[in-house]
Each structure stands twice: as C-alpha cells, then as structure tokens.
Symmetry: C2
Subunit: 247 residues, 2 copies
DNA sequence: TCCTAACTGCGTATGAGATACGCATCGAGC
DNA sequence: GCTCGATGCGTATCTCATACGCAGTTAGGA
C-alpha cells in the first residue's frame, strides 16, 4: 500500500531514508525551498526559475536537481512549507473557524503564488493536512458528524481561497491590470481603478442587476476586510443552523 | 476615462474599431480562441503553445500575433469566451442561485484550465460579468441591498471555484497524482486512491481530528455531487437567514 | 484606373527556461 | 587506504514566446 505513494509525498512525510555517505552537502532541501518561497513571495511565481533560484543560493542550476526531482516537485514542497503551523483556535466552533479562516487568508495574502501553483487534487501534504486537521478540530465537542464537519471546513476553505484568488495579489502589491503599470507607484495595492473601469463598461441595458449594484457604489465604500467577514458570516450562519438542528 | 482601459478589454467590449483595408483575413480572433479552448480542454493548459495552436489552425506561429498581443491576452480572451451564456434562472432566489452555482460548476468541470489561468483581480470581461449579472439577478425582488446581494453571489462564486479547483481536473479525467500514471487506465477519473493514500499517511497522534473523520470513511460513501450540494446548502441557509431577517 | 496606405501572413532569429547525461570529487565505513 | 554511494555542476538539447522585417493584398481616393 505504501508503494502507491509517489516519491514526492514520501519525502514530505519523512518516509525516504537519508543516506550518510558522500561529501558534506552544500545545499539542502530546506534551504532550496526557503529560497524558492522567498523569490515567489517577492517577485511572483513567474520570476521563479531554476536558474534564478540557483543564483540566489550561490550554486549551479543543475545542482538543485540532486535535491528535487523537477520543478513541479519543488512547487509541491513549497506549498507544503509556506503555510507554516496553523494557529491555536479559541474556544467555540464559530470563533475557532473564524480565526482559522482569517489565518488561512493571511497565508494566501503572504504567499499568493500558492493559489496559482496548487494542484487539482485533494491535499495530501502534511503541511496542508495540518491546517485541515486544525480546522476540523474547531468542531470538537460539537454534535456534527464527520461528514458535516468535513463539509463545513471545506466550504470555509473554498471561501477563503476564492476570496484570496481575486484579492491577494492585488492587495499585497502585485500587478493587477489597470494601467498595467506592474505596481502602481502611489497607492500600494488597492482595488481602486477597477471601480472606474467597471463603471465605464457596464451598462444597465446589458447587465441590469450588475449595473444597479455598481451604481450603489460597491467598489468604494467598504474595505475588503469587511466584505470578507460579511460573506464568511453567511456561511457560518448556515453552519450554525445545522449545529443547532443537531443539538 | 476610457483611456485607462487596456487594449485587451477594449477588444473584448468591442471598443476597438476594425479597419477594412488589407487582404481577406484567413485567421480570425474567434477561430483562434475557439481552437485554443479546444486544445486546453482536451490536453490541458500546458499543452497549449502558440506553435501547437498555429498548427491546429493550419497557419504559422507568428501569424497568431496579428490577432492577439501575446499569450496572456489570448488566455484572457479564452476565459471570456469559454463560459458561454449563463443559464436562465428559475423563480425564487434560492432555486435561482443553486441553478447558477451548478451551471458554473459545469463550466469549470468542462474547462478546468480557467481556474489555473485566472488573473488575480476582479472580473472585467463581458463574459464573466454576464455570469455575475445573472447571479445577482437571482435576488431581484428580494429585500437584500446591493452590498448584501453582491457578497452573497461572490461567496457562492468562491464556493464553486474552490470546489472545482480541487475536483474538476480529477473528475473530468485529468491526471491527479496517485500512481502518477497521467490518467489511470481503469476508472475514468475518480477520487479513489486518495482515500487509500491519505489513510496510510494520517495518524491519530499527529492529526487527531482529521484521523477521526477519515476513519468514518469520508472518501468512500458519498458522491462528490452530493458533497457539493451539501456544502452549498450551508451557505444558502446562511443567506436565507439574512433574507428572512430583512423581510 | 491606378496608387498607396493599412493590413495580413509568416520566415528568421533570439533568448529564456527546464532538464538529460556524464564527469569529477568527496568521505564514512570496511 | 579503498570503495561505493553521494554530491556539485559543465555541457548540450529541446521547447517556447516573441521581436523584426519583408512581401503580398485590397479598399478607397487621386
């Protein structure tokens, strides 16, 4: 059964034995992954090439391949390491899940490339699963059954990822589109400009419902933080309804 | 004001005038985009190169650049066109939003590459906005205000995208990870294998909450369809609570 | 009617990037 | 000291996106 486990996961879970033969390694998986995360954080995933990474580490490009099968594997390692330890959760499932969601959001805002790199499959890396476990733990002592807990946490995960996918790069200073200036000089990251563009394009005859919403000034009043919590509150309300049904 | 609008958007919104001088175009933006979507659907985003695309169209690679500024622009055009028209919604905001979510899910399952390609910014393309508008229209006649409607629809969008990002490639037949066989011969796409791998790796001492959930057989019993609706129901319940508060 | 400017298609060339292959070197344990 | 399993890395190959410029095409004005 452990034979079906791909090499990448074996390494992550510490199932691969380390030999102690050759010369003192100048490189290590940890150093490589840390440097790669640094580059991706600062300059985006596109800026992360094996050559640039090697340069940062003071080694030759091909040396990296002694520690990493290929670039895809490196990306998996990065995604495993970048989130770090999940936070301690306060008592009460709702407060706990909210804290969890916020912490996860912070992860994605700090490492927006995770959302571009993530594979189309359930999480299997220990780093990811630690967060999932922590999220599930919010429901300890709750009448929800396993399936309900899992669905609640996954729904929250989806919400956080969806929000971050749209706003993370934007608000943490990356290049959106307006003007295309690859980092607008003045306001370090904001969703302004989108309001203007969208207002100029959306007309009531073609998009009536949207035009109304825009006319009400959606893109000006609220901070994205407020919007995040407001949308999340709907989901938590729904979960609360289920919890009280089971009680 | 329309000056701040990047060329890509101008083309999409039909704001760019077409000249009528030169020879009969053998290529057209529509043909290019359609062929590109076809390739990405069938073989994945990685298989979409300008060379392969040109070959499919029976032209030379550089010819494409007469119609598309660069590959990024092509991806934006593809994302605008692929979803097609949003569905008509049944009466009642809840039924409407549910129908909308399902249709959107189908879009992502049919075109999983959209989620890999999507830019980190609010949607500005007419194709995307048509869907957003349709989603918002579900709340016509409802006591919710603009902000509440918008947040409800965005939350639903996040949910759908999050779910699809994990399961779309998987269930529509792409390569997940287990075995790495780039398309397991037998069962055309399924989440099996993940259950086995995850059970083998997750231990109660390290991930207690997760281990319990897994022990209860999460990865076997339910169809992903059922799970999708169940999680979505939580969100809709929460929205319903808000609606009834406002009534 | 013919000329020309605005287009179109595309051949060639460049430069980035991932990575296969094989050599030279190192050092723990026999 | 020898040896075998590492390690670092130079070189070479292949895939890609895309800049540049030439050549053919045609609508509309002279």
């Amino acid at each position: 059964m452990p034979n079906d486990i791909p090499r990448t996961l074996k390494v992550l879970w510490g199932l691969e034995e380390r030999r102690t033969r050759g010369p003192q390694p100048a490189l290590s998986l940890e150093r490589i992954v840390a440097a790669a995360i640094e580059i991706a954080d600062r300059d985006g995933l596109l800026a992360l090439s094996m050559a640039r990474l090697a340069e940062r580490l003071g080694s030759a490009p091909m040396s990296l391949y002694r520690h990493v099968a290929d670039k895809d594997e490196l990306l998996v390692f990065m995604q495993d390491a970048a989130p770090g330890e999940p936070p301690e959760l306060p008592a009460g499932w709702r407060a706990g899940l909210h804290t969890w969601a916020r912490a996860l959001q912070a992860v994605y805002y700090r490492h927006p490339w995770i959302l571009q790199a993530s594979a189309g499959r359930p999480p299997l890396e220990p780093g990811q699963l630690a967060w999932l476990d922590r999220g599930l733990s919010a429901f300890d002592g709750t009448p929800l059954n396993s399936r309900e807990r899992f669905q609640a946490v996954m729904a929250t995960l989806y919400y956080v990822r969806g929000e971050a996918q749209i706003f993370a790069v934007l608000l943490s200073g990356g290049s959106g589109v307006p003007g295309d200036a690859t980092r607008s000089a003045g306001s370090e990251g904001s969703a302004d400009g989108f309001g203007e563009i969208i207002s100029a394009l959306v007309t009531a005859d073609r998009f009536p419902a949207l035009a109304t919403v825009i006319a009400d000034g959606l893109f000006k009043v609220e901070t994205e933080d407020g919007a995040f919590d407001a949308g999340l509150a709907r989901l938590l309300d729904g979960i609360e309804l289920l919890v009280s049904t089971r009680s």
